[in-house]
């Protein structure tokens, strides 16, 4: 069963510092487009990989881009470095990215992120302005359409 809200709660409860980006961040800002995965930006240190494993351990996390669907609980091995992780879990797909095209790395995103409270947990969500920049930098039709929607949301936030 897809449950992105629960997936994010698990990550937050494991103490992982991350910024929510991508389509589910757009939903947080008010977009009504559906997305099939959760994208977050985080530092992929060994400590954070441990927290991710703790959060996802009960949900069958696998590297969805590998033909063998390697278990995330076993890969990457200690000392192995990774730039991004593309996982499938029983709660849905989650991508952990270390930087966002057009915007920058975790520190840059974190500095501008909006803090939102959901069910007593505080989540850092990419700012509306940064998300528009990221969607436009992606340049695909669906991202450009979402960018237009986000610009309309920004206009409505200004009282229009």
């Amino acid at each position: 069963m897809q449950n992105f809200s629960h997936l994010l709660q698990r990550l937050a409860d494991a103490g992982l510092e991350f910024v929510l980006v991508g389509g589910f961040a757009a939903v947080a800002h008010g977009s009504f487009h559906l997305t099939r995965d959760v994208d977050i930006c985080a530092l992929l240190t060994s400590d954070n990989i441990g927290k991710l494993r703790e959060a996802l351990a009960g949900w069958n996390p696998k590297h969805r881009m590998t033909p063998q669907k390697l278990s995330f609980l076993l890969h990457p091995t200690p000392g192995e470095t990774v730039n991004n992780l593309y996982l499938q879990t029983d709660l849905g797909m989650v991508d952990i990215l270390t930087s966002i095209k057009g915007v920058g790395d975790f520190q840059r995103l974190r500095a501008n992120a909006e803090e939102l409270e959901v069910d007593g947990r505080r989540f850092h969500v990419i700012s509306l302005a940064d998300l528009i920049t990221a969607k436009e930098a992606m340049g695909r039709e669906k991202d450009l359409l979402t960018a237009k929607e986000l610009r309309a949301i920004a206009a409505k936030r200004q009282g229009h």
Partner: protein
């Protein structure tokens, strides 16, 4: 950011339902996420049902004589 009126006009021309956007903006983040999760779950169930229907419509494989 753009001129707000221009941004709204461009969104309208792109087919974005601004009334639906207003409805969505009136919700809390928790409500937006919950509605998204429910809609995605339904979309995936419909997709699966479509695949099952298509599989049933396939002609049976030819058998050797």
């Amino acid at each position: 950011m753009d001129n707000p009126a221009q941004a709204l006009e461009e969104a309208r021309r792109a087919g974005i339902d601004l009334d639906l956007l207003d409805t969505n903006l009136a919700l809390s983040v928790k409500e937006r996420w919950s509605q998204h999760d429910a809609a995605l779950e339904l979309a995936l169930q419909l997709e699966e049902a479509g695949k099952n229907r298509d599989a049933k419509l396939q002609p049976p494989p030819a058998t050797a004589r």
